[in-house]
């Protein structure tokens, strides 16, 4: 059985806890999710029951002057984005929306984005989703409600379960509520776009931008095919400035001067910049077809060019680079051979990979993320047991047998 056919989607946290406690008592695995928009990621969960947080929703605290917002896990992310936008603020990690990649129709939830620790282009400078999770409430695998962190901006009281649960894909606990730090949204956005001949020049241009004193908030390189999907005629290195209007004008001009050593440069205005980075955020330049598998590789930025070259030599790869070259998006044939090439390229660069999307047989057959060395894998198993002693929460989502 691929998907669970018994769905529980309680409104109240107590009912979520009760559902987990019941599954724990029965030793029955649960597929834990929000709206299930990311079910196509990573490994498939084999579970008879499905526990969703989608009905446990609503913003429970928003204090703009204190830079915090708190909401129940099932709250659609777009509701949170709209609420903070109304007060001139934004979510710092610029979480992406991959519903086009996953052919998802329902809106992704706050809990889902945090459980997957998904971050957008701003991650290179302002940190990942997990960096701005100030507090969580969650239900562990025995049905106990546990909290970590809180609603204040600095907190080192006890072990940081906010970070551990972010990116744990519902395998340790069911996140029921999240408090995020937010910041004022920039008054203006500008982008320097430099036409660079190849990935090496592109990444060098981005390193110059990121090593400049101008506070670049995103840095991506698109080869010509990816660039053409966003209306450029050549491969292009892109560096973003977000600030007050006069600062954006000043900084983009200075930045273009520094980046023109790598190719001729243009400055994109506010509207064009916002549209462009939204597309980069959501992996639009990849242009993946429905049949293709999609991977993300995280490597040191300067290794991005070599990774791109290796992938292109190995298979018919469509790709682009974000995070200064350190995030390699690639689409290619959904075959074990292509996956092996991705693994090899990531290992050679000392980085990691994630199989973001693929048909079920491939997801079951390969390591969707790098296996941990034995000592660390043993710690993972013990930590999993510390939260979920009977292994009922999203078993097998990250690693076979965990």
């Amino acid at each position: 059985m691929a998907f669970s056919d018994i769905m529980t989607a309680p409104i109240e946290e107590e009912a979520i806890a009760a559902a987990v406690a019941e599954a724990h008592a029965a030793g029955e695995p649960l597929l834990v999710q929000g709206n299930g928009t990311k079910t196509a990621m990573l490994r498939l969960v084999q579970a008879a029951r499905n526990l969703s947080t989608r009905n446990h929703r609503g913003i429970t605290l928003y204090s703009p002057n204190e830079l915090v917002i708190r909401a129940r896990a099932g709250t659609p992310l777009i509701e949170i984005e709209a609420a903070v936008a109304e007060r001139g603020q934004h979510l710092i990690a610029e979480p992406p929306d991959y519903s086009a990649l996953f052919a998802a129709t329902a809106p992704q939830t706050l809990g889902g984005v945090v459980a997957a620790n998904l971050s957008g282009p701003r991650r290179i400078t302002w940190g990942a989703m997990r960096d701005h999770v100030l507090g969580v409430r969650a239900v562990n695998g025995t049905g106990e409600i546990i909290r970590s962190g809180g609603r204040v901006l600095k907190n080192v009281t006890g072990l940081d379960l906010c970070k551990l649960l972010s990116g744990s894909h519902g395998t340790l606990a069911v996140i029921t509520e999240v408090t995020l730090k937010v910041l004022p949204a920039p008054e203006a956005v500008g982008t320097v776009a430099v036409h660079t001949p190849d990935a090496n020049a592109g990444i060098a241009a981005l390193a110059t931008a990121l090593g400049s004193p101008y506070g670049v908030s995103a840095a991506a390189w698109l080869p010509s095919d990816a660039a053409s999907r966003l209306g450029f005629t050549h491969a292009v290195a892109l560096a973003r400035i977000e600030d007050f209007t006069p600062s954006v004008a000043y900084r983009t001009a200075k930045l273009r001067d520094e980046m023109t050593a790598f190719g001729p440069g243009d400055i994109l205005d506010d509207a064009a910049s916002r549209k462009l980075w939204r597309a980069v955020r959501d992996a639009v330049p990849l242009g993946a077809t429905a049949e293709q598998a999609i991977w993300r590789l995280s490597v040191r930025p300067s290794a991005g060019a070599a990774v791109a070259r290796a992938l292109r030599e190995a298979f018919d790869a469509s790709l682009f680079l974000d995070w200064g070259g350190g995030l390699v998006w690639v689409a290619g044939p959904a075959e074990a051979g292509a996956h092996a090439a991705v693994e090899a390229a990531a290992r050679a660069a000392g980085g990691t990979w994630m199989l973001v999307r693929a048909p079920e047989p491939l997801r079951a057959a390969v390591a969707v993320i790098p296996p941990e060395p034995p000592v660390l894998a043993a710690i993972s198993r013990r930590v999993k047991t510390a939260f979920d002693p009977r292994g009922i929460l999203n078993p097998g989502r990250l690693y076979a047998g965990l």
Binding site: R123, N140, G158, K163, S298, V383, L398
Partner: protein, 473 residues
């Protein structure tokens, strides 16, 4: 006074053999067991607590750390990791049956990469040492705890240290890429690397701020940032804490996030001025130091907007620095705050609670009331942008009653922080100091969950076992 766990008699009985075992692993001068030479290691920044350890080892490589941990694991010996010993929460306080694992000899910078913007350093490199190593290329390491001249990056990782500039740049956890750790069994593990997103569980995030409970950090890969074109500070003085608090709110809601936003109350202003002669206004009840970054033109624009906001709050005085030297003068008093308080009262407890910033005036009023009822002076220094409060409670260490009162006062302040929606510690860590207050913030189930994670890394509870978690009954 907090209770420490009883020493294991079987370990004390084997003291000679254990020391001999350590000497077999390390060069002679790297093992200290003579009582007089153990004295410097008996306490840290929380000097009210003192306990000489069984021995001190000073390894100079990850392999030596692993060898020591393997031996201690086999022998069932507790281990207390130590950096510079600057912890204000007793994070490096030894136990009588413990080996102190001092990392200060691991003080080499291993790699600096400006293109990929990271540095790999050993755990005993000082916080400021990292910035000094990259400053000539215009880079810096962002977290800047007050002790940055002395404190070491390994300790910063253990405590998830912050500083005055974390409103913009984040704390230690937000500025790391990778760690080399050694487990309690002596296994060496690399966590993260030089890339941004690790796969699997966020061990880097969990280990940061884990106060030496889970593993020993020997190498750290930090992100380094290019410094902005320039920075300048302004000083604004107000008639009351309430007005200064309202001004902080107005600044944040204006859309400006200053790189630093520091708050000092009247006793802190007076102490710092007497010490540093920074030109602080002595007739003010509260004072803000506000710093912005950018080109000179950008700084001018931001400082103009901030001045306009401050002017709406009936300031006693406003001083916008025109040069980096004037900015340094404004910062001089704040940076010397601990020394300044030390001149008034040789002994003080530096608290570290965090509150929602909107509760600032109310919390300061109640701390004032506590100061009266305990009859102990307090000065408040506050990272206003992020709600991290540092009340400095002054007492007389020669008077046990005075110290007991100071501890009770501090505990009341921290309970108040939790009561108004905040937390016990923002950047100093729980250590021994706040260990027994943990149940005010966490339920029994929550503490048990954390203990089980500790056990997953350290099944025998050999690593810093007397910190963070209230002792089992």
């Amino acid at each position: 006074m907090l209770r420490l766990p009883d020493p294991k008699p079987e370990v004390l009985a084997r003291r000679e053999a254990i020391v001999a075992g350590l000497r077999a692993l390390l060069p002679d001068e790297a093992v200290i067991a003579e009582p007089l030479r153990l004295r410097p290691y008996e306490t840290d920044g929380l000097t009210a607590y003192r306990q000489p350890p069984l021995a001190v080892v000073l390894p100079s490589s990850t392999e030596q750390v692993a060898a020591v941990l393997r031996l201690c694991h086999t022998e069932g010996v507790r281990v207390v990791p130590r950096g510079a010993g600057t912890s204000l929460s007793g994070g490096a306080l030894p136990l009588a049956d413990a080996v102190v694992l001092g990392l200060m000899r691991m003080n080499r910078i291993l790699e600096i990469d400006y293109a990929d913007r990271f540095a790999v350093v050993q755990a005993g490199v000082t916080n400021l040492g990292i910035t000094q190593a990259v400053a000539e290329h215009g880079f810096f390491y962002a977290p800047d705890p007050s002790s940055q001249l002395a404190c070491m990056i390994g300790g910063n990782v253990a405590m998830n240290s912050g500083g005055a500039h974390c409103l913009k740049y984040g704390v230690t956890a937000n500025n790391l890429l990778g760690l080399t750790i050694v487990t309690t069994e002596g296994e060496v593990l690399r966590i993260g690397g030089t890339h941004l997103d690790a796969a699997g569980y966020d061990w880097l995030g969990l280990l940061t701020g884990s106060e030496g409970q889970l593993a020993v950090v020997t190498e750290v890969t930090v992100r380094i940032l290019r410094a902005p074109e320039g920075a300048r500070a302004m000083l604004a003085a107000f008639r009351s804490n309430e007005v200064a608090g309202a001004c902080v709110d107005a600044i944040i809601s204006s859309g400006i996030i200053p790189v630093a936003l520091e708050f000092m109350d009247r006793p802190a202003i007076h102490a710092c001025e007497a010490f540093a002669h920074a030109g602080y206004p002595l007739d003010a009840e509260a004072m803000l130091i506000i710093e912005v970054e950018g080109s000179m033109v950008e700084q001018d624009a931001l400082l103009d907007r901030l001045r306009t906001i401050c002017e709406k709050h009936d300031p006693i005085s406003l001083k916008v620095s025109q040069t980096p030297e004037e900015s340094l003068a404004i910062w001089k008093g704040r940076k010397g705050a601990f020394g300044a308080i030390g001149r008034i009262s040789p002994d003080y407890l530096c608290m570290d609670g965090v509150i929602p910033t909107s509760r600032l005036p109310d919390v300061l009023r109640r701390i004032g009331e506590m100061s009266n009822s305990y009859d102990l002076q307090v000065a408040n220094i506050f990272h206003a942008g992020d709600g991290n409060l540092h009340p400095l409670i002054m007492f007389d260490a020669n008077d046990p009653e005075s110290f007991a009162k100071a501890e009770a006062f501090g505990a009341d302040v921290l309970k108040l922080c939790v009561e108004v929606g905040g937390c016990l510690t923002g950047e100093h860590g729980v250590g021994v100091e706040k260990r027994d207050l943990m149940p005010t913030q966490f339920t029994a189930a929550e503490l048990e969950q954390q203990r089980r994670i500790k056990s997953a890394f350290d099944p025998d509870w050999l690593l810093n076992p007397h910190k963070v978690f209230p002792l089992a009954a």
